[in-house]
């Protein structure tokens, strides 16, 4: 994984904001008095680079560890292994005060705008709370700042004194975004920010997020299961399956030249409006296996039509796709791709 060992780049236009290396989050689960603890590998060795103003999308089915990744990046949870650097500073080895400072720079937007806003607080209080905790601004200054951010996300001044229940889902998500912006962050981790919204409102919120990205030079880690949204907003995409990355690359590489059987299946399962964009349906049998008892070898082998004996015993590592040497950074973890066993002529438009 040479590309992640690059030294820290200081040029402004492609400044490395967030750099994760082999992040792991293992949970120990008690199974009773006489059994040893089981280990759930919720996230098992994830590396990526996030540049300024770019969007990294994390895709996968529920239970694949994408939200756990989001919680680690915002340091809600401490990774059990690996390193996470923000602007070259390792977040995990710092002392508490320094960590608190850096935490301000990485904010999160949650999935459900109904559950993530305190119903007993007014919008003004919700937005100002981060400032109360983290800054020494006076009351008037805090209000000024809150109103300025509210205007940025398309909320009106009179909304300052209202309670969350008075808002629609789309407006609530705007409030959640505003709250994330209060401390001038560099990175926003958006955990399924639009999946609870209707399509027309979803478009409004996505537009807002893209506008804000341009204006403030924000970097997004965009966690989603909706591939059509990801195709629209992402620069880089990471496909996760059972805690591991199975394919990683730029949006173009992933959507125009997907390689991993799981990515192919995900893409073909996503309904498409225009008939010419539809792919041949790859039927995936069964469901995501339990992370408590993951399959041996490649975690995907039970549902994969290309699986052979090697897939059942040997875990594939994430490696560069050797067939496209001119295109950089397309990583795939699959024996079948490596051995050229996948017949891609059956892919493409139906």
């Amino acid at each position: 994984m040479n590309q992640f060992d690059d030294s820290f780049d200081t040029t402004v236009d492609n400044q490395l904001i967030l750099k994760a290396n082999n992040l792991k989050q293992h949970y120990h689960v008690k199974q009773g008095m006489f059994k040893p603890d089981a280990v759930v590998k919720a996230v098992d060795g994830i590396s990526f680079n996030l540049e300024k103003g770019k969007t990294l999308a994390v895709v996968g089915e529920s239970g694949c560890g994408k939200s756990t990744l989001g919680r680690m990046l915002t340091m809600i949870e401490t990774p059990t292994d690996g390193s996470l650097a923000h602007l070259g500073e390792d977040l995990l080895t710092l002392n508490k005060d320094a960590q608190k400072k850096l935490r301000q720079k990485i904010q999160i937007i949650f999935q459900n705008p109904y559950g993530s806003l305190n119903p007993r607080k007014k919008i003004g209080a919700i937005l100002e709370e981060p400032l109360v905790i983290n800054t020494t601004l006076s009351k008037a200054e805090r209000k000024e700042k809150a109103l300025a951010i509210m205007a940025k996300v398309g909320l009106k001044t009179e909304h300052y004194d209202r309670y969350p229940h008075m808002f629609s889902g789309g407006q609530r998500q705007r409030i959640a975004i505003a709250r994330g912006l209060m401390l001038d962050p560099n990175v926003i981790v958006a955990d399924e920010p639009v999946s609870a919204l209707d399509v027309s409102v979803q478009a409004q919120v996505l537009n807002l997020m893209m506008d804000l990205q341009e204006e403030f030079g924000l970097s997004y880690v965009f966690i989603s299961h909706d591939l059509s949204v990801v195709e629209h907003i992402a620069d880089d995409v990471m496909v996760m399956y059972l805690g591991k990355v199975v394919e990683q690359g730029t949006r173009k590489q992933l959507f125009e030249n997907p390689k991993h059987p799981y990515t192919l299946a995900l893409l073909s399962s996503t309904p498409q409006l225009s008939p010419e964009k539809r792919r041949i349906r790859i039927k995936l049998e069964g469901e995501l296996p339990s992370p408590l008892n993951p399959p041996s070898g490649c975690a995907f082998h039970g549902r994969c039509s290309y699986a052979n004996d090697r897939c059942k015993t040997e875990t594939p590592s994430l490696r560069l796709d050797n067939k496209e040497s001119q295109e950089q950074g397309h990583l795939i973890a699959c024996h079948a791709v490596e051995e050229n066993r996948i017949n891609l002529t059956t892919q493409g438009a139906a």
Binding site: V199, S200, V201, A203, H232, I233, L266, S269, L273, K277
Partner: protein
Amino acid sequence: MSLLQLENLSVTFGNFRAVDNISYKVEEGEVLGIVGESGSGKSVSSLSIMGLIDFPGKVSADRLTFDNQDLQAMPEKQRRKLTGSDIAMIFQDPMTSLNPCFTVGYQIIEALKTHQGGSKKELKMRAIELLTQVGIPAPESRLDNYPHQLSGGMSQRVMIAMSIACNPRLLIADEPTTALDVTIQAQIIDLLIDLQRQKQMGLVLITHDLALVAEVAHRVIVMYAGQIVESGPASEVFSTPRHPYTQALLASLPESAAGKARLEALPGVVPGQYDRPLGCLLSPRCPYATDHCRKVEPANQGDLDRQVKCHTPLDSEGRPAA
């Protein structure tokens, strides 16, 4: 002759009209997609067909017939016999629509016993057969499972097994895959369509996922704030939308905008109980609205096969008629 026929169906809760004079029909062996945003009355209209609207909700219709039998005029007992066997429904959230206190087998057999009867052994055999039909592995052992032991996809399969238990002629699926992952969604939709073809059922597929409807439905109805704004064959409605709302919905999908371009979002939200506009309900959000639209409610234009509720329907280039 149509399987299900609605004419001017309205559902009111007090002063609020959740469903406002809608008319449509479903033929045998047809997949009808109903799309719309939340609050557009998709679910309420289908609940009213099932007779599941409770007080204070009120259903009224000029005509509500299933297979030429008037659902409104028939005695309650007879209607209850019909719903659940000839008309069946699958609900949105499989995890909450199964009773957590009873085993899966008990719940399937309960539906069978009510509508068809039979000995304990026969019923059990039939339940196993149904679970096999919906693709549940090792159905004998699954009968004794409680809903919490099943995943979302499995629960939805059980729900489907229950709904097809009495060989319904009309199946209403209300957002059957919204709570599921895409790969599981694909499995469930394939299953539903296979069953629909095998049994030549009428299938009403209610969803907010336009692309899903575009893939499987024959005809489609677009609802907005309790009204049908456009209806027609799925391919036509999605390729040449006649109503500004349909056009806007399609434009707001991420796949219709190239690269990182901004999406064409319709401003505002669906009107609720207290902010219902005069005239056309879309007029405050519609880019083509005129003063006439803001005052007078448009009538449905065209016959039932291709209808649009707009003063100035769009032409094939997507521009409003003069």
